[in-house]
């Protein structure tokens, strides 16, 4: 399909990319393009210019700190995460990335793109919320960090402001994590998803039931406490052709328990 006419630049450095984005309100960052290019085909979005982040080395790579902390560049692809020996310090990351779409999409799609899209059906927003990730955002005024709980602001909206870029995602050490989803077909789009982290107290984050991940901290890790926490959240998910509101509420409880059990190794 022929897209609307669009400008394009491929900066070689982060500073240059931020400059280009800050200079034009209509410019948008192009990460892996596995959502944005389709959005442009559908004319659901028509940026004036694309700032391609594909050749900025500073945005790539995975570093494992001595304390087990992982730092992942925003332009790291799902495939790079799946193949990374460093990323295995937090095994759930590779496990979930391997469930996203298909080989081709995983080869191009990036962790930063997945969360900056902030599509409620995406896998990584609830996962990173449950894992207590911290996002680094850089703009012309400097760098700031935002916890995952404050990063997602709405459907397609995040804490990354105009002229800013998400540069990296930092994850604390931990191995006791879980993820469960009911999807459209095997490894398709999520109808409801749940991620859990049981490193210290249990944190659960639900996807597809609100505009942003719903983060819960149940009183205990018992199934009934988890179900009670989901009910107390009084979820009001949308009904659509794939699932009714009631069914999504039901799935949220079931999947929260499944994710928590996986996180606790039971």
């Amino acid at each position: 399909m022929l897209l609307r006419e669009v400008g394009y630049a491929r900066p070689g450095s982060l500073g240059e990319a931020i400059e280009l984005l800050a200079a034009d309100d209509g410019a948008r960052a192009l990460a892996g393009g596995q959502t944005l290019i389709n959005v442009m085909k559908a004319r659901a979005g028509s940026p004036d210019a694309l700032v391609d982040l594909g050749r900025i080395e500073e945005l790539k790579g995975i570093e494992l700190g001595a304390d087990g902390t992982l730092e992942i560049g925003a332009m790291t692809t799902y495939t790079e995460i799946i193949d990374s020996s460093e990323a295995r310090a937090r095994p759930i990351l590779g496990t979930v990335c391997a469930q996203i779409a298909d080989v081709q999409v995983r080869n191009r799609g990036t962790i930063g793109g997945n969360i900056c899209t902030s599509d409620p059906t995406n896998h990584l927003p609830p996962l990173l919320a449950a894992l207590h990730a911290e996002m680094t955002i850089q703009g012309s005024d400097g760098t700031r960090t935002v916890p995952a709980a404050d990063f997602f602001l709405g459907v397609y909206m995040t804490a990354v402001g105009p002229g800013e870029l998400l540069t990296k995602i930092k994850l604390p050490a931990g191995r006791n994590d879980g993820f469960a989803a009911v999807t459209l077909g095997v490894e398709g789009t999520c109808i409801v998803s749940a991620a859990a982290s049981a490193n210290g107290s249990l944190t659960i984050a639900l996807g597809c039931v609100d505009a942003v991940p719903v983060v819960l901290t149940p009183d205990s890790a018992e199934d009934e406490a988890i179900r009670a926490a989901v009910r107390a959240a009084d979820l009001d998910p949308p009904s659509d052709v794939h699932a009714s509101r009631e069914y999504r509420r039901h799935l949220a409880e079931v999947l929260a328990v499944r994710a928590a059990r996986q996180a606790q190794g039971s």
Partner: protein, 155 residues
């Protein structure tokens, strides 16, 4: 520098092409319309069907979800590059032997996905074959003969 048109240099199946392209042009249209390499197909044009799959710098991608300008400086492999003259690749021959196509529309994408799979994993398990072809849709065969062809080519 932001511009709506750029000169790009892309190597496809060993031949380097230098062309002016609009930034809005998808890689699949550059390959098919500008270079007349019509082996790669446009199926759904929404990133679902995989008929446009090509290998860019060793990585399998859907060329309808990539801009031509993003491939500047890259080495691209398309279905035209698989055979050596009249000599089909082992995988292509296996597709033929196992009747792994009916209408053939998905075949270029299937071949590129299976080629990428067998390069990174020369002896995949049955599950790995299925997962390797997950991004490619075939509406004729029910997939079975494609699966058998890839399996035979890996033995």
């Amino acid at each position: 520098m932001v511009s709506t048109e750029q000169t790009i240099s892309v190597t496809i199946n060993g031949t380097t092409y230098e062309r002016d392209v609009e930034a809005r042009k998808l890689l699949i249209h550059f390959i098919r319309d500008d270079l007349d390499l019509t082996g790669s197909h446009v199926g759904c044009d929404t990133g679902n069907c995989g008929a446009c799959s090509v290998i860019v710098d060793g990585q399998l991608v859907k060329s309808c979800m990539m801009l031509a300008v993003q491939a500047d400086g890259s080495a691209v492999e398309t279905v035209e590059g698989l055979a050596d003259g009249e000599q089909l690749s082992k995988l292509q021959q296996s597709f033929r032997d196992h009747h792994a196509l009916q209408c053939g529309y998905c075949t270029p994408g299937m071949l590129m996905s299976a080629t990428a799979l067998l390069r990174s994993n020369p002896h995949p398990s049955e599950d790995e074959i299925k997962k390797g072809l997950q991004g490619n849709i075939c509406r004729c065969t029910g997939y079975w003969n494609i699966f058998e062809a890839v399996k035979a080519a890996s033995e």
